[in-house]
Symmetry: C2
Subunit: 340 residues, 2 copies
DNA sequence: GGTTGGCACTCACCAACAACGAGTGCCAAG
DNA sequence: CTTGGCACTCGTTGTTGGTGAGTGCCAACC
């Protein structure tokens, strides 16, 4: 019984603290939420919660502030993920429906997420590791220069210019083209690279070096794409609302936002099945960002999770709303990808 | 004679203020720079400079601070653009030489600029308005779906997927392809769109709608590219160094950095011939950014100026160094584009 | 006339100090 | 277990006075 109330107190403290950004005391807490107990009782509960590590005092005789552990408990047990309003849902849908291509979907998602959560939004472009090669095209820019174009099932297009070091007759070019198509199209990017290796072996000896160059470029494009995970960031203007703790929090965050490799580590593994991951403060992989949290989830067409999307904000954030927004955007984006 | 000294005083004040970020008084000024006059004399000069609007006092009995007009004079007349060190030049060159394609060049330039100037760097992707069509390719994804690929002389590649609404035989496709090539290749993007209009008219009547669809997509790609000016931003972490005047300066700047349209207005027209444009404070087009300056210049292969690149920072910045860095990076990037 | 030393004045900044009040912990009674 | 009471803590706010960097002005000097 008391246990229930304690959790209610923790929840109330977190809600108040998120709203006011100030340590919350027993009296104001009782007033604002309709707790049917006296401040003294709440104080006892607070003392217990602090004992267990869910709360902390900035200094003696100040109100309490939730710890990372407190937020953790809140997120795991207490948060009723509040559904978005119908109007919000409609707004999301119409905004995303206006997208014209994959890039645009990602751009719009970032913007949407940052506006909904008033936080910094991060959207990873769909990973290609599970995508397939849809088409390969060779375009002769000059007799000894080729443009290699790679088109993937996600709609992404990669191109490479290859200097052949020799002139390649149209006949050889055509043969190489058809052989590449035969080998690659329909292959997953994981297997396509291996399959490519054999292609150049069947060329005319004279055309051999050129073919090898093309194959190398193509393999490079595939491999490069496999590892280069692109990322879009938006809503950095929301960082200006951090108020206190500026150098300590914003500086490293801005740095992380520019280092996409770091950012990827921060986002973490894509989760599947609509689950939203929450990393609170020091739970994250980056020392400097101990006072920021990450709310993220995987998304992608069908049930698969090709990439991750989420927001980064101060540990003191409105988790229920944020989680709802992240989940909603992920769902709608996934649906768009389904249709595309 | 006194006029010369006054300018020297202005210059000294600006240098000190940029270095210390604090209003500078007559005494410390005389000490730090080897001015062979007494503080009283300097005070007289300061009073005159203030009278003319080059200096301002935050409050009575505080040191002087340069006004926008003061910086303007400094930049126009006094600044000896200090050349970069040989080491710096070498660093720039090797860093940029490592770039593998146009995107990479831009990415590296942004990073380089922000590191050299410790400021927020902005690089506009080369504008296509003066570029020419190098190649057009049609790829049949399905009998009734075409991928249209547009390759431009800058190395940019644009693609569009076209739903034909009918199946198009390979023969028609080949004819359309060769006709497009004939019409467009070598054309500037300005004239290519007009030339396109005639292409579909010569198709077989049955293939007419399909041809029109393709032409429309191509025209769209060209037009879209002509107006969509892409931009890369880097070094936002340097905003954390703003210290004072945070909400007033950083917030609107972060917002501007996300609105690429706004950012383009901020960068302004590309200047030609190696001239570096400096926009100080309220000289810029955006009200909210009255306390930030822009140092920018045009760049591009040959003598032409396809795009703009530069940095955005507080009005209180080291103009000589910044201008030198911007100019140097623009030169090297232009050289790279020449070779590509 | 430009330059300089002297001098009174201004005013942001800092430290010390007191009053205030929100909040706590503890305890005894309900 | 809850509650009212009470003493205590301590950050916040406002006051006050001293300090010093800096100024403007003026008379004297070169």
């Amino acid at each position: 019984m008391q246990e229930d109330r304690r959790l209610a107190v923790l929840r109330a403290i977190i809600e108040d603290y998120v709203a006011t950004e100030e340590p919350v005391g027993s009296k104001t807490l009782v007033e604002r939420h309709g707790l049917n107990v006296s401040p003294a009782t709440v104080r006892n509960d607070m003392a217990a919660l602090e004992e267990e590590g869910y709360l902390a005092q900035p200094h003696t005789s100040a109100g309490r502030v939730p710890t990372d552990k407190g937020y953790r408990l809140f997120v795991d047990q207490l948060a009723t993920v509040k559904p978005l309003s119908a109007a919000e849902k409609r707004a999301i849908q119409t905004f995303l429906d206006g997208a014209i291509d994959l890039d645009d979907v990602v751009q719009r998602s970032v913007r949407l997420l940052s506006q909904l959560t008033r936080q910094v939004a991060v959207v990873q472009y769909p990973t290609l590791s599970r995508s397939t090669v849809r088409h390969v095209e060779l375009v002769a820019l000059a007799p000894n220069r080729l443009l290699v174009v790679l088109i993937l099932s996600t709609g992404r297009v990669e191109q490479r210019v290859v200097e052949l070091g020799q002139d390649l007759p149209e006949s050889d070019l055509a043969e190489l083209r058809s052989r590449l198509l035969l080998t690659c199209v329909g292959q997953g990017v994981g297997t396509a690279v291996d399959a490519l290796a054999a292609v150049s072996e069947f060329s005319r000896p004279e055309a051999r070096p050129a073919a090898e160059g093309v194959v190398a470029a193509l393999a490079d494009a595939i491999l490069d794409e496999r590892s280069t995970e692109r990322i879009a960031v938006g809503g950095t203007a929301n960082l200006a609302r951090y108020g206190d703790s500026f150098d300590s929090a914003v500086r490293p965050l801005l740095e992380a936002l520019e280092e996409h490799v770091v950012l990827l580590r921060l986002l973490g593994e894509a989760t599947t099945g609509g689950a939203v991951t929450v990393r609170i403060g020091a739970e994250g992989p980056i020392q400097e960002l101990a006072s920021t949290s990450v709310v993220a989830t995987g998304y992608g067409p069908g049930a698969q999770s090709l990439a991750t999307l989420g927001v980064v904000g101060p540990t003191r954030m409105d988790y229920p709303s944020t989680m709802a927004a992240v989940r909603a955007v992920a769902r709608y984006v996934s649906r768009i990808l389904d249709e595309g």
